[in-house]
């Protein structure tokens, strides 16, 4: 899922400084699951913002709402009209939601409440880790299912660098060296031949360096 986290309050307060009527709009998609933009977070953020504005002597009217998803047009439909009652809509969805609102509801001043961080998994309650970089050219079949693009600090293609010590990455002892894990996994699966082959230089176009990406599935087009 997409992992996000709330921006610092002062940054949000700064961006709504001229706003008197605000809608804090949550999303029950990824951000709700990673506890960044679901109903609970909407309530807490709205409260905090009211408190902050009150303390600053500039009370604000805030409504709270959470949509099923902000990245599908049908869920955004009501916002086109309802949103007009507010000076701004503070979206607690990932960046996709904010963009989609901006695209779909041109009359609405949409603001981001979250920093969208990565594609990750929930390691345990309250802990998420990056697992994929969305590079558009998956090599996981060659690396024992472990992604060197997302999980190696240098996105290396050809094995661990000289900084790999005791299975940890050179940049931080808390970061596992994914190439160490790939080596062990491929060796245990008797796939170590894969380690001897030179993986050619990557084409980074599918990862976004070729411009914004778009996917089309013909059979589903209206």
């Amino acid at each position: 899922m997409i992992i996000a986290e709330q921006k610092p309050l002062d940054e949000i307060l700064e961006m709504i400084s001229g706003v008197e009527r605000l809608l804090v709009l949550g999303c029950r998609g990824c951000v709700a699951v990673c506890s960044a933009g679901g109903d609970k977070e909407v309530g807490a953020l709205a409260s905090a913002l009211r408190l902050g504005r009150k303390k600053a002597g500039k009370p604000i009217e805030i409504d709270e709402e959470t949509y099923v998803r902000q990245c599908d047009p049908e869920y955004l439909e009501p916002l086109e009209e309802d949103g007009k009652r507010y000076d701004a809509v503070l979206s607690m969805a990932c960046g996709v939601g904010v963009n989609f609102i901006a695209d779909r509801c041109p009359g609405i001043n949409v603001l981001p409440a979250l920093n969208t961080t990565f594609y990750g998994a929930n390691l345990s309650s309250g802990e998420w880790a990056e697992m994929c970089a969305g590079c558009g050219a998956c090599v996981l079949h060659l690396t024992g299912g472990l992604c060197p693009v997302a999980r190696c600090a240098k996105s290396l293609s050809n094995g661990p660098c000289g900084g790999s010590v005791g299975g940890r990455c050179e940049i931080n002892k808390d970061v596992p060296c994914i190439w160490h894990q790939i080596c062990e996994k491929l060796t245990s699966r008797k796939q170590h031949q894969l380690l001897r082959e030179i993986v050619p230089i990557r084409d980074w176009r599918p990862s976004g360096h070729g411009g914004p990406r778009r996917r089309i599935r013909e059979d589903l087009l209206p």
Partner: protein, 1003 residues
């Protein structure tokens, strides 16, 4: 051989290689890199230049590598994937290759997190293995990473990579080395080794994989500086295995630095024993000083000398270094020579003193003997007296007295004659002794002829000796007989002696003279005759060689050097011979002059100048012949005087003159105050002024010569060019023709001339003929340049026919050469100038400017009437040359062309003109670029007088307007003269007077 780098050569040779490491500074300090390179030079085979190691911003490895290369140390450029994508990397690789870097170490690079810009976006477009693969493909397949072909000059690098035997997973490490080798690595440098045992295990696997056969492995070592450093490395540097033993050794050491070096040396010795290790990589970053010691202690010095080593770029300091070294060497050599000469001089001085002593003792001995002879003579006289008296007594006495008298007179006669002859013998032997003395001294002269001091001592000594015996010991008999003959003889001997001395001074001519004078007094004097014979022989030997060294060649000319056509060579020699003849004529050496002119005419029978010279020489137009024995006093400065003070003085005159000038409102003819005092000439030769620095150190002879172009016709014709040396370098070549100044006039009233200029001509503005005449009659113009500005289509746009008419009247109204200068519009100029030639036929007027736009039409006209032309090109050597070539192709002779390189006034781009002119002249003279061996014409007056500085009125800040303008024009002219300009077209009479005075003072 892949790249031919020194490192590659050493490794291939099987020598145990040593590489070092150099961390560029975190600033732009050139010296830091250079100094580090100098520390490492000679102690390592190559030096790694790190690429922002530990992700800290530093001077780029490429730039630092070039500095190192310029210092004579071979760099191994490191290249990481952290900071550049494939576009940047390939671009840098091409640059590095172009600049002579031959080794490349391909690394992934430390993560930016470690550095001082952790916020940076790490590029990591590829990893080190892919980098190797890419650079190898660039080299071997001549392909960029994208597959495009590298059409030529593909980068050829000796490729290396890093390996860390201490990183995990351990078993994977040799596999990674194999991958790097497969990708293109020819050598591997390892991480710092402290755990030799682990490294040995690593090498074992490497050998098992057969990698030691495919790649040179250089073991990385670092001398630990302190326990702290060792602990830090152990704890914080990922993948660095510092053993406890190392830490213990450092802990126990008195001098941790020394112990660090010792640890490092021990490790080198240990790893050297491991099979497959081809060298060491000593990383002593910020402790480069330790490297020489480590290399030496490890028994790895001296390093093999790099075979081929030529950095593409040299630092200016490196050049300075070479130059200063060469200068030092030259100086030392010169000093050595000087010392030797001094010693020789001292020795000869001693010898001379010794000889002098010897001679003086001989002289005194002789004196004594002469005294004895005198005493004998006196006694004899008294005896004669006594005998005479006795005889008289006897005559007066008896008859037997007759016999007595007879016998007595017989006795007396005998005695007298014996006494006389003994006196003469003594005298002769005295002379003999003197001659011997002289002989000895002549030998010395022979040996010391080049030493001036010794020479002068000797000549004075010789004179003394020649005259001394006659003054001090007159032969009594002679004195009684003929005092006149005595003085004559004295004169003869003296002259003969002088002749001998001169002969030994190699002055054969002087010697001949002396001997001849001696013979004139005493035709039978043997010594003088012998001397004369010898002197003549010597003269015959000496003269030809002297002539060959000098400019005149009596028999033919030297063989034509390569690169010159025989015609040119001959032409050049004619110019030279004529010049030489003129010089001789000037000096009064009529014969030599005649000789030179005759030779010139032999080579070129219709050379006018040679003919004129011959006529002059024949008619005896020469200075009185100086006495041959006298040293030649140079009659003209060989080098222009330093113009500083003189120039500075002249404007003072101008200033006062300007003050005296007429009020602004009136415009009378201004003729007074124009003349400029003559510049003092430097009479000493450059050699003298150069403080006896050898001449070949400051002279540089040219192989080319500038063609001569003749303007005008008849008596007043002006010939330009002919120089075979750089402008005014008359100490090293000929500059037979002084540059000339032409007065620039217009065919209509100037619209924008400032009053300070126009006041001189305002009375004649309306009539170009009168204007030209005024220039000639009042200001002494030797040439006129008439600008047909009125025809300018962007200006007055007068019809060509009108301008042509005016031009014609000017042509007909003056006798000095005329240059017709069009308005600069190619089309209109063609029309106008053609019209002029139609009117005046083949009067030798010079036409210009011919540009690439109208050279065809005007060139054809010039060719038809054989007129000289001005070829104008826009401040560019190649364009100037091209235009000359085009004109020549058209059929014009280069003898008809004056080049106008396009000039600017001082402050208005003159430096460009200067530079281009200088380059043209150098090409013409030193590279024999025939197409550029043409005189320059510089139309500068119009440029100067349109500048702002010449138009601003007089004020306290800018000073007097006229003086300002005059100096602007004169200084512009002097600059262009120094650049090689032969003909200056100028406007202000004062500026022209100044310029002419300068020219006169310089040639």
């Amino acid at each position: 051989m892949i790249s031919g780098s020194n490192l590659e050569q050493v490794l291939i040779s099987g020598e145990f290689a040593v590489t070092g490491e150099l961390g560029p500074p975190q600033n732009g300090n050139f010296d830091v890199v250079r100094d580090k390179a100098r520390i490492l030079r000679g102690h390592v085979d190559a030096v790694n230049i790190t690429d922002c190691q530990t992700a800290i911003v530093r001077m780029s490895s490429l730039a630092a590598g070039l500095i190192v290369l310029a210092e004579g140390v071979e760099p191994v450029m490191q290249m990481t994937c952290r900071d550049r994508n494939r576009i940047g990397i390939q671009s840098d690789i091409l640059g590095a290759s172009a600049l002579g870097i031959k080794n490349l170490l391909c690394l992934t690079g430390d993560h930016q997190k470690f550095g001082n810009h952790p916020q940076a976006k790490g590029v990591f477009d590829m990893d080190s293995i892919q980098l190797l693969d890419m650079v190898k493909a660039m080299r071997d397949d001549k392909k960029f990473q994208c597959g495009d072909e590298i059409k030529s000059h593909e980068p050829r690098f000796f490729l290396g990579a890093a390996a860390n035997p201490f990183a995990d997973p351990f078993k994977y490490r040799p596999i990674r080395v194999a991958k790097k080798v497969k990708a293109g690595a020819s050598f591997i440098q390892t991480q710092i080794i402290y755990n030799v045992e682990k490294f040995a295990r690593f090498m074992e696997i490497v050998r098992d994989l057969g990698l030691n056969e495919k790649v040179y492995i250089l073991a990385g070592v670092t001398p630990p500086k302190s326990v702290g450093m060792a602990r830090y490395m152990k704890k914080f540097v990922p993948g660095l295995d510092v053993t406890d033993e190392v830490i213990e050794r450092l802990k126990g050491a008195k001098d941790p630095k020394e112990e660090g070096i010792s640890i490092c040396v021990d490790i080198i010795k240990q790893v050297r024993e491991i099979p497959g290790v081809a060298g060491v990589h000593i990383m002593a970053i910020e402790w480069e000083q330790a490297v020489p010691e480590i290399v030496s202690l490890a028994g790895l010095s001296p390093r093999p000398m790099p075979k081929t080593f030529e950095p593409r770029l040299r630092s200016s300091e490196a050049i300075d270094l070479i130059v200063s070294k060469a200068m030092k060497d030259a100086k030392a050599e010169a000093e050595k020579a000087l010392e030797q000469a001094k010693a020789e001089a001292q020795a000869s001085r001693d010898l001379v003193l010794k000889e002098k002593g010897k001679i003086s003792s001989e002289v005194s001995n002789l004196k004594r003997r002469v005294e004895e002879a005198k005493a004998i003579a006196v006694r004899k006289e008294s005896e004669i007296g006594r005998l005479t008296r006795e005889l008289a007594k006897n005559r007066a006495g008896q008859g037997h007295v007759r016999t007595v008298r007879r016998s007595a007179s017989g006795d007396a006669g005998k005695t007298l004659s014996s006494h006389d002859s003994s006196a003469l013998i003594s005298l002769r032997s005295g002379l003999e002794a003197l001659r011997k003395g002289l002989g000895i001294n002549e030998d010395q002269l022979e040996a010391l002829k080049r030493l001036f001091e010794a020479e002068s001592l000797l000549s004075s000594g010789a004179d003394e000796r020649v005259t001394a015996p006659f003054d001090r010991s007159p032969a009594p008999g002679e004195r009684l007989e003929k005092p006149e003959a005595e003085s004559r003889h004295r004169e003869v001997v003296s002259l003969a002696a002088k002749g001998n001395v001169l002969l030994h001074k190699n002055d054969a001519a002087g010697a001949i003279d002396a001997f001849e004078r001696a013979l004139a007094i005493e035709p039978e004097d043997k010594k003088a005759r012998e001397g004369l014979k010898k002197a003549k022989e010597a003269f015959e030997i000496a003269e030809p060689s002297e002539e060959a060294a000098g400019p005149v060649v009596p028999e033919g000319i030297p063989p034509c050097p390569e690169g010159l056509s025989p015609e040119d060579w001959q032409r050049k020699w004619v110019i030279r011979l004529v010049a030489t003849g003129n010089v001789h004529l000037h000096k009064g050496e009529v014969d030599k002059a005649l000789n030179a002119f005759k030779l010139a005419l032999e080579l070129q029978p219709d050379d006018k100048r040679a003919k004129t010279g011959l006529l002059k020489a024949d008619s005896g137009e020469a200075a009185p012949v100086p006495a041959p024995a006298e040293p030649e006093v140079p009659e003209r400065a060989e080098v222009p005087s330093a113009p500083g003070p003189e120039i500075a003085k002249v404007p003072e005159g101008v200033k006062t003159e300007a003050k005296k000038g007429p009020p602004v409102t009136v415009a009378p003819t201004v003729t007074e105050g124009i003349s400029v005092p003559e510049l003092p000439k430097e009479t000493r030769t450059l050699f003298e002024r150069a403080d006896s620095i050898q001449e070949n150190l400051f002279t540089e002879s040219c192989t080319g010569a500038i063609r001569e172009v003749c303007l005008g016709e008849g008596e007043k014709a002006v010939t330009l060019g002919g120089a075979s040396t750089l402008p005014f370098h008359i100490f090293e070549g000929d500059m037979p023709r002084a540059p000339q100044v032409a007065f620039g006039i217009l065919d209509s009233e100037p619209e924008d001339w400032p009053d300070v200029l126009s006041r001189y001509y305002s009375d004649v503005f309306s009539d170009p003929v009168a204007w030209a005449r005024k220039c000639i009659d009042h200001y002494g113009a030797k040439a006129i340049c008439l600008s047909l500005v009125s025809t300018d289509p962007n200006g007055m746009n007068r019809p060509s026919s009108e301008a042509a008419g005016k031009a014609r009247s000017v042509i007909e109204g003056i006798d000095v050469p005329l240059i017709l200068w069009g308005c600069g519009n190619a089309e209109k100029d063609t029309e106008t100038l053609r019209e002029v030639t139609g009117l005046v036929g083949n009067r030798k007027v010079c036409m210009g400017p011919l540009s690439d736009a109208n050279y065809r039409s005007l060139g054809a006209t010039a060719m038809a009437f054989h007129l000289p032309v001005v070829a104008s090109s826009p401040i560019d050597v190649n364009l100037a040359k091209q235009l000359n070539i085009l004109l020549e192709n058209l059929g014009l002779s280069l003898d008809q062309i004056l080049m106008d390189p396009s000039i600017g006034a001082i402050g208005y781009g003159i430096e460009y003109s200067y530079s281009v002119m200088e380059r043209i002249r150098l090409a013409a003279l030193t590279q024999q670029d025939e197409k550029l061996q043409v005189p320059f014409i510089c139309n500068l007056g119009r440029e100067v007088w349109k500048t702002k500085e010449c138009r601003l009125p007089s004020d306290a800040h800018m000073g007097d307007q006229e003086r300002r303008g005059v100096l602007m024009e004169a200084i512009t002219a002097s600059t262009l003269l120094l650049a090689g300009g032969e003909l200056m077209v100028m406007t202000h009479p004062k500026a022209i007077a100044l310029t002419e005075a300068l020219i006169k003072g310089m040639v």
